[in-house]
Every structure is written in C-alpha cells, then in structure tokens.
C-alpha cells in the first residue's frame, strides 16, 4: 500500500516533451497495410462464410445469404471434424515433443565444451532452411522406391510398403518428423541461452543440501526458465497451427484426408472443391482459435507482470 501512495514513476517515455499526434502518424503505414491485407480479408471471410458463394462464380453472379447454414453443416461434416482432430494432435505433439526434445538437448549440452559455437550454428540450420527446399529433401529421403529411408524400413516390424508419405499412419508420422527436424534444434538453442540465466549459487546450494539432479531441475532450473518454456510452447503451437507448405507439398493432405490440418483444409476446400463459402466458414473457426490463443497469451502475460511487480 505504501508503494501505491508514493509518487508514481511514469512508465512511458514522455520525457522529450509530449506530442499528441506523432505516435499516430508513426503507425499509419503499418495500419494501412494491416487494414488492407489482414483486417479487410477477415471481414470478407466472415461475410462469404454466411453466403453460398463458390470460387468459380463470375462477377455479377447472384450470391445468396444463407445465414449460419455453413456453420451448422460443419458440426456434421466428418472431414471437418477430422481436420480439427488432426490439427489438435499435430499441435500437441509439436508443443510437447519438439519443445521437450529441445529442452532435453539443451540440458545435456549445457556445459562449456569444445566447438560449442559451431554446434550452435549448425543447430540453427534447419530453422532457417526454406520449406520448399526441406520438402524436396524429405520427399527424396522418404521416396518409397529409392529413398534412404528404405534402409531403416526393412528392419522395422511394420509394413511400410505403402510408402512413408502415401499411407496411413506413416504420412502423419513423416510430417511430425519433418516438423521436429525443423524446430527442435532451434528450441534447444533458445533454451541453452535461457539456461545461462539459471543462478549458479542456488544450484550449488541445492546440491549441498543433497538434492539430486531431478530435484535441482524442479526446484531451481525450471522456475527460472519458465518464461522461455511458455514462449516456446506458444511458438510451437503457432508453428503447427500455421504450417501449410510442408504438409501441402508432401502429402497434399492425403492419403484420403488423413494429414489435412485446418489450414490445408481451407485451401483444398476452396481450390480443389471450389466451395468458397464452406472454406471461409472453416477459416473463420480457425480465426476464432487464433484469437483465443492470443487472448490466453495476453492473460498469462499480464498475470506474470502482476506477479513481478508485487
């Protein structure tokens, strides 16, 4: 209470005088770009989702307003429900496995060792590697006739003769493998730099008190890397939810529609089945999910901020 009564320190930097209009002028370029290329398309999406428009419609074709018809249809649309399930599974595996593997690797290599700089540079390579180039590599590696994966497959106790990208569940497993290859090395580097902030003396004190490695991790390391952990889990979720080209170009959503995540479904419904209205309705549900995640993130952050200031 005492702190509240004391004169408030201004949080914002207004010290070089205050200008009323300048900040608004500064954000004009970004706002124009966002209104035209993000917000306007979103309103279009919402509007189209309430009609029966198809992508082949000529200009001037009459479009009928159908209310929530498309959304009501989604509840019974088995391929939509499947795509929600696939997206969820894909995101959860990314959030837990990629981030987990990243943390595991970081904990193991969290010592100074020879060639550490080189290892770090190496580990960023997949993250920076463009999607289309990664896709070409993996299509070649996973090729059912000539791919080097054949060397591994023949020792596996499963029948993978349907192809790693063309039969279930291997297509899904392949996509997970590609995403993990792309993301976990990068996560491990971010974790590694967060681990430098773990207080050394606390770790030593815990050791003297007889804490084992797991105890030390739970009581000392984990609390101090928690912000990074949350951030990377969010990043992994966004990565999985947005991922389009690596799925679209390897499996196209197939076999059947077994790897068709929500974003791929939006694209296929419009450009393969020409059902623009249904595609928009699917897209709007995706926008709602994005909005919810952003909200959860904000709430978590403001809680963290409150905790820090107490």
């Amino acid at each position: 209470m005492k702190r509240l009564a004391s004169p408030r320190i201004p949080v914002e930097r207004t010290k070089i005088g205050s200008s009323k209009h300048l900040p608004y002028l500064l954000i004009v370029p970004i706002c124009v770009l966002s209104f035209v290329l993000v917000l306007y398309p979103i309103t279009q999406d919402i509007w189209i989702s309430l009609t029966d428009k198809t992508l082949g419609d000529k200009i001037g074709t009459k479009v009928n307003f159908v209310g929530l018809h498309n959304y009501v249809g989604l509840v019974h649309n088995s391929s939509y429900l499947a795509s929600v399930r696939i997206t969820t599974l894909y995101a959860i595996i990314n959030v837990f496995c990629s981030v987990g593997a990243g943390l595991g690797t970081a904990l193991l290599v969290n010592r100074r060792f020879r060639g550490r700089g080189g290892v770090r540079a190496l580990l960023t390579a997949p993250w920076a590697f463009p999607d289309v180039a990664s896709v070409i590599i993996f299509i070649w590696i996973l090729n059912s006739a000539f791919g080097i994966i054949g060397v591994v497959s023949q020792y596996l106790p499963f029948d993978t003769s349907g192809g790693w990208l063309t039969s279930s569940p291997y297509a899904f497993i392949s996509i997970i493998g590609m995403s993990m290859w792309k993301t976990f090395p990068f996560y491990s580097i971010v974790f590694l730099s967060a681990l430098q902030g773990v207080p050394e003396d606390l770790l030593e004190a815990a050791t003297v008190d007889g804490a084992g490695p797991f105890e030390r991790f739970r009581a000392v390391t984990l609390p101090s890397i928690k912000p990074t952990l949350y951030l990377l889990e969010l990043l992994a979720f966004i990565f999985a939810f947005r991922q389009f080209s690596m799925i679209y170009l390897t499996t196209g959503g197939g076999p059947e529609r077994d790897t068709e995540t929500l974003v791929v479904s939006v694209y296929n419904t419009a450009f393969k089945f020409y059902d623009y209205a249904l595609s928009s309705a699917i897209g709007v549900t995706g926008l709602a999910i994005t909005f919810l995640v952003a909200l959860v993130y904000l709430i978590l952050q403001s809680r963290a901020a409150k905790r820090d200031f107490r």
Binding site: R13, K15, I16, S18, L22, P23, I27, P29, I30, L33, S34, L37, V38, Y40, P41, Q44, D45, T105, V109, R111, F113, V119, L123, T124, A125, P126, W127, P130, V132, S134, I136, I137, W140, I141, F146, G150, W181, S188, S193, T207, V208, G210, I238, F241, R242, F244, S245, Y248, L262, V263, V264, V266, Y267, A270, F271, G283, G286, T290, A294, L298
Partner: protein
Amino acid sequence: MNVVIGSKRTMLVRSIFRYSIITFVCLLVIFPLYWMLVTAIQPPDISLQYPPVLYPKAANLHGFQQLFQDNPMARWLLNSGFVAALTTLITTSFSILGAYAISWFKWRGKFVFGMMLLFTQMLPEALIVIPIYKMYSQIHFANNLPALSLIHAAFVIPVGVWILRPAFESIPKEVSEAAQIDGCDYFALLRKIIIPLCSPAILAVGVVAFFASWGDYLMAVTMISKQDLYPASVGLASTMSQLDTPIQELLSGALIYGLPPVILYMFIQKFIISGLTAGAIKG
C-alpha cells in the same frame, strides 16, 4: 565437497555420454542436408542404386547445369531476391516507425495496436489467402511482384516490431535528454540516436524479413501464375511436381535455393536469440 565434483571416473563417463549425445543430435540435424549435398553432386544412376552408399562415389555438376538449362532458374532466383529485398525494405522502415511509437510515446489505443500486431503474428496466412487473392485479382495486383512483397511485409512486420521494441526501450534516458538539450526533434532523435544504437536489432529484423519472404510458398503460388514471374520457391515446387525431373537436378535446386538464408541466419542467430529471450522476459 566431493559431492559436487564427483570422482574423476564419473566425470569422464559423463563427458563421454554428453559428447555422444551432442554428436548424435548433430548427425540427426545435419544428415538431411548432407544427403541433399551428396545427391546434388552425384550422378543420378549412383543415387538410384540400392542399397544407397553414404558417401558420394563420383561427382559432377550436371544437376546445376540441367537446372539452369531446363528452367528459368536464374530468373526465379532473381525474382525471389527482388521480392525479398523489397519486403526487407518495407518491413524494416515500417517496423522502426511502429516500434518507435510503441516504446517512446504514451498514447491512447496503444493496447489495441499491440493486440492487432499480436493477432496478425499468430494468424495462419492460409486462412485468409483466398480473400486476399480475390481482392488482388480484382485490382490487378495478381502477377505483380512488388504487390506480393506487400503481403509478405504485412505478415512479418509484427515480428519486426517485437524484435525492435526491447532494443529501443533499452536506450538510457540520459542519452535522449542530452539529445533534446542539443536541440534534437523526434525524427532527429530517431535518426541520429536510436537507429545507430539499435543497428544490430534492425539488421536482425532485415534478415528475418528477407528470409520470411524468400521462403514463402503459399502467398507466391496463389498470387503468381506466370512462369517467368515465379519466385524460386514456386518454380522449384513446379519442377518437383513434374515427375520426370531428374533427382540430381531437383536436389541441386534445393541446395542453391536453400543455402543463402542458412548462411545469413548463422551470422545473426545471436541477435535473434537474445531478441527472443528478451521478449520472453519482458513480454
């Protein structure tokens, strides 16, 4: 204190264990890239042998030759470079202005603006690519490379602001006060003090924007349908979908197209990571 240090033997075992894990992870990460290199320089009849050999038995550059002969690959790379350069320019300048507004001024609506950026950053582009395509074909912006870079910029700017904000905020108060006494106005402050002091972060934004644009496939394939306007991503994907493209040519393409961003990224990875962790701590 023996508890802490441990005996020499356990130390040795541990360090062997650690090195083998590091080696294993590195091999796992590097193998696909190594395999790309091997296939790109090896004659295809060797690559198609079974079982595959893990090292190149012969080398030639026919893949690269074919790649540039059969396709307008040089053109595609040039298109990618042009779009990416323009995206970099737009993103960097707009992000600098936006980050300046957010970190140095107090104004109403800042929260809403921040929320909009956050939302845009999380938004999967694929969800709204169709309305953008509809709009672009109506205003004759389809098949237009500068127009494509506007889309790329719109989606990467939030990341740019996010990287710049903590850097801008870290400039000490005294510096700006001194500048004010010297008669600097807002733009002089930005130009003479903030931009030079934050040049590493600005460089990082530029690189992030460059390879976001360079790597994009979705927007490019939707907006660009003329073959000579393809960026490299779309061009390579189109050769990939032709089943008769030799494997050596395809992997040579992946190599040429994939390497520049990796090299760029390795130079700036330090800034990116410190930007990310600062973001995690400060929010």
